[in-house]
């Protein structure tokens, strides 16, 4: 498996708070689910991989490029897609205008932009709202606009922070299919609280706890860890809570 995301001893601190500590992780093609409780460092990790923030320590190599180098960072940014947890938007832009704006800032070739934008909008099922102003959309529709801007450049590395928040069950099913499709051609890292999303769409899963990776494996392996021990309604939830309980017990010891 070709490694597209290489993280070595990554640290992130904000003031005196350590958010990510000595994280080592290698990810290849496919859909990688990031699980963890609030404050585990998922959003910080995604923001770091999206080159929004520089690491406080450690080394990153994404798509074979070093984000620390300005030229390589620029090239990397052309090839990645990012959906922030709280995506701001311009209320008076139409769906098409907003996705087109981001495509322009991604420095996509001008002749490709219109079709790429239309395709991204259709892929998230917003074709009938393409000319609607963003201020008229529901929360779920805005989330889909966010996904459209993230995939408009057919990214090789797609980073999604809580992408299914606000989507209804039917849209979530469609979105998982989209994730699987993109994961077949590139790397998708998706942070989520929804364990069932991981089971349905992810080829691998990592569980963060207090900035440390406490589990990495397939959804089936995570589910197996919860047999007869963890609390939860589904095998994955039981696996999740069992791993977390173990990590907390280890931290106390």
């Amino acid at each position: 498996m070709a490694v597209t995301v290489q993280i070595e001893r990554l640290c992130q601190r904000f003031g005196r708070t350590t958010v990510i500590e000595d994280l080592d992780l290698e990810i290849g093609m496919g859909v990688f689910g990031l699980l963890g409780p609030n404050g585990a460092g998922k959003t910080t990790l995604l923001r770091t991989l999206a080159t929004v923030i520089a690491p406080a320590g450690g080394r990153l190599r994404l798509l074979g490029l070093d984000p620390g180098d300005p030229e390589q960072r620029r090239e990397l940014r052309r090839r990645l897609g990012y959906l922030p947890q709280a995506m701001g938007y311009y209320p008076n832009f139409t769906v098409f205008e907003f996705v087109e704006y981001i495509a322009l800032l991604k420095e996509m070739p001008a002749r490709e932009i219109r079709r790429a934008v239309a395709r991204a909008i259709e892929r998230v099922g917003l074709g009938d709202r393409a000319k609607a102003k963003l201020k008229t959309l529901s929360g779920g529709q805005l989330r889909r606009v966010g996904i459209a801007q993230a995939i408009v450049n057919d990214p090789e590395l797609l980073l999604l922070d809580e992408p299914t928040a606000g989507l209804d069950p039917e849209q979530r099913v469609e979105f998982r299919a989209l994730l699987r499709e993109i994961g077949g051609r590139g790397t998708v890292i998706v942070s989520t609280h929804l364990v069932e999303d991981v089971g349905a769409a992810c080829t691998e899963v990592g569980l963060l706890h207090r900035g440390r990776l406490v589990f990495r494996g397939t959804p089936e392996e995570l589910a197996a860890l919860g047999e007869g021990t963890g609390a939860g309604d589904t095998p994955l939830e039981r696996g999740y809570s069992a791993v977390l309980a173990g990590a907390r017990a280890g931290a106390r010891a």
Binding site: L80, L104, K106, R115, A118
Partner: protein, 253 residues
Amino acid sequence: MTDHLDDVAHLSTCDVCRRRAAEGLDVNLDAVWIGVAAEAWTKPAGRVERVARRLLRSPGLARALVTTPSLVPSWILASVAVLAIGALATESTGTPWVPLLAPALAGAAIAYAYGPGVDPAFELSRSLPISDRMVLLVRVLAVFGLNALLALAASLATPEIRGLSLGWLIPMTTISALGLAVATLARSANAGVAAALTGWALVVLGGAASTHRLAAAVTEVTLLPMYLAGTIGLALLALHASSGHRMERRTWQ
């Protein structure tokens, strides 16, 4: 039935064969629809954006420029109205209101040009190839240039202040730098506006108190070194405040 599908002349006159030929065509309807949708949903770039594209040689930067909050028509009209009222007040009172208003207007407009407190997509923009500093630079230059042009036009249209020439230009630069520095430091456009307006009011009132002339702030040559030093210091401060590291520390503190 005889097959005439290769006979173009026959196909042009025979509905049956034409239908049979169409059935055999391998048409990707999705691709056709994307092409149609792309044309139907696209709004052509305006004249200003087209000129900006040619000047900046970057469609992304050009779009970022025309989306500047303080360059929208309503803001420009408000600036024109304030300067027009200033020109009328100058004619009727003899006090040079246009040079006194121009720096305050520019400072407020620059504070509202770009930044986390103004740009809804600021977080997203920091993961894109066109750097946020480049967007900031282009917008600040455009906003300053436009405000300088408006003030110049108002000055030329007011015979009473033609003698002041461009006495307002240097203080305008200083107050713009103040608005930008405070807006980026505080991550708030309102804070930048407040600082620009307060700072300029203090300079004007201070000059008036010491010389008993309200226009001293734009006529006293002795103030020039202070303006120049202030501009350089504040511009450096704005540069520091807009650096990624500094921005991030502010986010988490």
